[in-house]
Symmetry: C2
DNA sequence: TTAAAAATTGACGCATCGTCATTTTTGTGG
DNA sequence: CCACAAAAATGACGATGCGTCAATTTTTAA
């Protein structure tokens, strides 16, 4: 194998290319958080770097594409956490708990930047970018695997995955609105709810 | 009481005001569906009516506000359906089934306009309009009432409402992607899942 | 009939859009 | 070290959309 990890043979050209792309993404994250996604313009983003306006278009075609790249990046960083939760788990319940704690912890970290309210900067997490589709697939695969092993009943894995993602999103957002956000408690609620429905969710108080 | 329902004493001024506002909303729905929310401009919307560009700003401040009005309108039309489901039901399960069938039927109707994929018709941020908050409150009230009557366990009503809404949204979107969308089946899935968790969801096939 | 009030209109100044010819930077061979 | 080609950055440009506003038309009320 001559494909060993390409340690660091990056010329200056490649390095600045990576650096510029990253600078744009960092500026975009900040701008989206500060003024909200809708209000932000490509010019606002590029002003947050030391690049010229035309340079933006060497890296992205539009604001939407930048948003997609950020979402893709988040999804790519989250996916291994999800995978790890699956591999670490020895039971379905453990898998679910690991996955939800990973997700709730992740969004708690991601939203620590000060600025506009959460709702105005938050991606509408649909099966959008390749990495986000990969996350959805990871969720569904994990559930299908559990079903195949008899750890979960044989139900519609697509709807099930959607239900879990919906719960994760909405309960996650609700958690962020509470201060301080209690990650374990939120995960406990979600896991109990998914496993047993109303009867399984932790009693209040 | 001299405040009796104001039957129809609308002058021409009031009538055209209502008509123009409605014309803008109708055009906006069509434009959002056809070219996608992001790509649409205020000019695109106003071109879909016989009004001048400046007139738009007598009714709305921005494209976002138009979307908010559409969302608000949808929520306002949906809320009574939800309320009716609650009043009609004689058990918690019946309430849930009625609510989900109402919601899934509603979004199936709402998205019958041909055009861009569902996901592109909305902004990438979540807007919480007054009527949408009212719908959320209706959901939570319904659940709290059930809890108070001992028809459901005493769990965190806020998280529960969020979980139900998340399920409704994600499973609803997934349902729309299938053709033809099977409203009853989707509702059966959601209700079973909420009541009993994995064990309660209908088996596949 | 007429004057005040309200609403509509479209042109205006300004900002952002995406492009592209030009300039600057980087990699390569003599 | 220099020169030359490829690659990338730059900012000015025409086009388009933005939100405003003085002028105009329509409606209401006296």
């Amino acid at each position: 194998m001559s494909e060993t990890a390409e340690i660091e043979p990056l010329g200056k050209r490649e390095r600045t290319k990576v650096a510029n792309r990253q600078a744009i993404l960092v500026a975009a994250r900040r701008v989206f958080a500060q003024m909200g996604y809708e209000a932000a313009s490509v010019r606002d983003i590029i002003r947050g770097t030391d690049l010229a306006s035309g340079t933006f278009y060497n890296y992205f075609r539009s604001k939407e594409e930048v948003f997609g790249a950020i979402a893709d990046d988040s999804a790519a960083r989250f996916k291994p956490l999800l995978r790890a939760a699956r591999e670490r788990a020895t039971s379905f319940e453990e898998y679910l708990r690991g996955a939800f704690e990973a997700y709730f912890g992740f969004i708690a970290d991601e939203n620590e930047l000060e600025g506009r309210p959460i709702d105005e900067r938050r991606p509408h997490v649909r099966s959008d970018t390749p990495e986000m589709i990969a996350v959805y697939d990871e969720v569904r695969d994990g559930l299908e695997a559990a079903i195949a092993r008899g750890m979960a009943p044989r139900i519609d894995a697509d709807y099930l995955a959607c239900a879990c993602i919906g719960i994760a999103q909405e309960v996650g957002t609700a958690m962020l609105r509470r201060s301080p956000p209690d990650i374990k408690a939120a995960a406990r609620f979600a896991v109990g709810f998914i496993l047993k429905g109303l009867d399984g969710a932790p009693r209040k108080g």
